[in-house]
């Protein structure tokens, strides 16, 4: 059998059965014919008795593997090792791809040989309609809705960095990332592990494209639906998520020497002054964000301290 043109990598950890089966339905409905792609499912230490191989039985080119080391990065590295295509698509267990996703992903990769990682729109499908105030924080949930395609290899600024859900990735980028993480275990800790909500492994992975001289992009025509359980718009959950994301984003920025200088005392004072009349909930979230960044900065400073590297 010839090599698949694209490998779909689905990592899952104790999924909700109805979500994962909907995600599988989305894959089954792909317009790209079955023999042109393969499906790698990594069961990341799930404890339930879900029969994933039964769910994937319709795809003859599928393989279910188990990775017992918990953590999204470990699961993804395992998936990279199992995949045989030159192009990967990362799919979460609550992502339902639009039927033309894989076909478009292949076409885009051909059209844009100089992009190493790209993604598309991720529309929410709410289990329960979300309160209006949460809209401001939907980006934390990985919701991405936009009209214009964007592509770049200029780090920082407004760089379009694809999120994990539906990220299309070239093998060379995945391989470099695997290499870097193997030598720097702190990079693996950027990602979700079980209940922890840190999550910048996606960004780290996408930016690896730039490290090897390629770019990143976002295309409106690549679309998926993200299934959102009611618990995701709970205030406490969002607060915790915000903390985790801003914490790990700051750590990641320090790894990549992209960390902006810490705000000075007078800048903080100004922020405080300007925030006087802001809605209390927004202020609470701002405070959480600041606390996460500060903690990450302190840790990064310790991590990069000279005595760590054996110097005196």
């Amino acid at each position: 059998m010839s090599k698949p043109e694209i490998s779909v990598l689905l990592c899952t950890h104790n999924p909700r059965p109805e979500f994962v089966s909907e995600a599988m339905d989305g894959l089954r409905a792909q317009t790209l014919s079955l023999e042109r792609w393969e499906l790698i499912v990594v069961d990341n230490g799930s404890t339930g008795a879900l029969d994933l191989s039964r769910l994937a039985a319709w795809q003859p080119r599928s393989c279910i593997v188990r990775e017992d080391q918990i953590g999204l990065t470990h699961a993804r590295l395992r998936a990279f090792a199992e995949a045989s295509g030159d192009l990967f698509v990362l799919v979460d267990d609550d992502n339902v791809l639009k039927a033309d996703f894989l076909e478009r992903a292949i076409a885009l990769a051909r059209e844009w040989p100089f992009l190493g990682a790209f993604g598309g729109q991720s529309h929410p499908r709410w289990e329960q309609s979300p309160p209006d105030w949460t809209r401001r924080y939907w980006h934390l949930l990985g919701i991405r809705e936009f009209l214009d395609d964007r592509w770049s290899n200029v780090l920082g600024g407004e760089q379009p960095v694809p999120i994990g859900a539906g990220m299309v990735l070239r093998r060379c980028v995945a391989e470099r990332y695997a290499e870097v993480v193997a030598h720097n275990p702190a990079r693996a800790a950027l990602d979700r592990a079980g209940g922890k909500l840190t999550s910048c492994g996606d960004t780290d992975l996408a930016l690896t494209a730039i490290d090897i001289g390629l770019g990143t992009g976002q295309f409106a025509r690549l679309e998926l639906h993200h299934l959102m359980p009611a618990s995701r718009v709970d205030e406490n959950y969002l607060a915790e998520l915000s903390y985790g994301i801003h914490y790990s984003a700051t750590i990641l920025a320090s790894f990549r020497q992209l960390l902006p200088p810490a705000p000075s005392r007078s800048e903080r004072l100004l922020k405080w002054y300007e925030g006087r009349h802001v809605d209390p909930r927004v202020r609470k979230f701002d405070r959480i964000e600041r606390a996460a960044r500060d903690k990450a900065r302190r840790e990064a400073a310790r991590y990069h301290a000279p005595w760590r590297n054996g110097a005196k």
């Binding site: 395609d149 592509w151 770049s152 290899n153 200029v154 600024g157 407004e158 007078s266 100004l270």
Partner: protein, 305 residues
């Protein structure tokens, strides 16, 4: 004869003779076969007129055109109207292209159909050794050295947009720009005019590329030498330049809706407070930038009301 792939346009206004001659000679040694590109030299209201002393019978035999309406934008647009190549390369009268510049420019145009404008490195050749302190302002006089290629289609991140010196533009971008500009006095006025220093028409072309869903890029393999006369390194000149360019850039960004919001009184107070702690020279450059921005906000505000 088939039409040339590339049109090289040199615009000049009262040039220094030896600079212009070097710029033209740099074109005579291009590796791209001569029949693949055309060359026009736009004399922008020079006094004395260029045809009185410039010998255009020598290779590369530029076509001499006279544009009496003063202003770099007018001169460039005239050049665009007079040529037919799919790719336009703007060369300043103090730019000496590397011998493979046109060849590389054409290759990039082929490899990157999604780019609307592209350029490369502008390496300085100083008339006098530049003082150490000027280094942080070299980008304002158009010095750019690159470690790697940069490209993007982001309108609010112009780090990958080429400078005017050696800028390559797809004809569709240049013609769209000409069409949009026709009737937009504000944008027409953004170009350099005579001795006036403002000049954001380069960024305006890059914005136009984004409007057409194309991108902008800069490439290490495109190299030219920018001859920099002594007065460009004087503090007074640099301060004027920084103010003028900040003014025109801010106006341009306001026109394209990507300008940073006008700071509040409290933010300005903070900026002032912070400026008390920096060195004198850095502060005067900060102030020059501040004046440029303020002028632009005022002008934009008066146009809106």
């Amino acid at each position: 004869m088939s039409s040339p792939a590339l049109s090289v346009i040199i615009c000049t206004h009262n040039p220094r003779r030896e600079y212009l001659e070097r710029a033209v000679r740099g074109l005579a040694v291009q590796t791209l076969p001569r029949e693949r590109w055309e060359l026009v030299l736009v004399d922008n209201a020079s006094d004395p007129s260029l045809n009185l002393w410039f010998d255009s019978s020598q290779p590369p035999q530029p076509r001499l055109i006279k544009e009496m309406q003063l202003g770099l934008t007018h001169a460039r647009l005239r050049g665009v109207r007079e040529t037919t190549g799919e790719i336009i390369v703007f060369v300043d009268d103090d730019n000496v292209l590397a011998p493979d510049y046109l060849e590389q420019a054409e290759a990039i145009g082929r490899e990157w159909p999604r780019l609307g404008t592209w350029g490369g490195q502008t390496l300085p050749e100083w008339e006098v050794t530049p003082p150490e302190w000027t280094q942080r302002y070299w980008n304002w006089i158009g010095v750019r050295e690159l470690e790697r290629d940069l490209w993007s289609n982001l309108r609010n991140d112009m780090r990958s947009a080429p400078f005017g010196a050696g800028m390559c533009v797809r004809r569709v971008v240049a013609e769209t720009y000409a069409r949009v500009l026709n009737g937009d006095r504000l944008r027409l006025s953004l170009g350099r005019t005579g001795t006036q220093l403002i000049g954001s028409e380069d960024s305006d072309l890059a914005f136009t590329a984004c409007d057409l869903r194309l991108g902008n890029g800069i490439f290490t393999r495109l190299k030219l030498t920018h001859i920099i006369p002594r007065q460009r390194l004087e503090e007074k000149y640099l301060l004027r330049l920084v103010e003028a360019l900040t003014f025109s850039n801010t106006l341009l960004m306001l026109a394209h809706g990507v300008a940073a919001p006008i700071p509040s009184r409290a933010q300005r107070a903070l900026q002032f407070y912070q400026s008390l702690f920096i060195a004198r020279r850095a502060r005067s450059f900060d102030l020059a930038r501040w004046r440029g921005r303020r002028k632009a906000w005022r002008l934009a505000g008066s146009r809106q009301s």
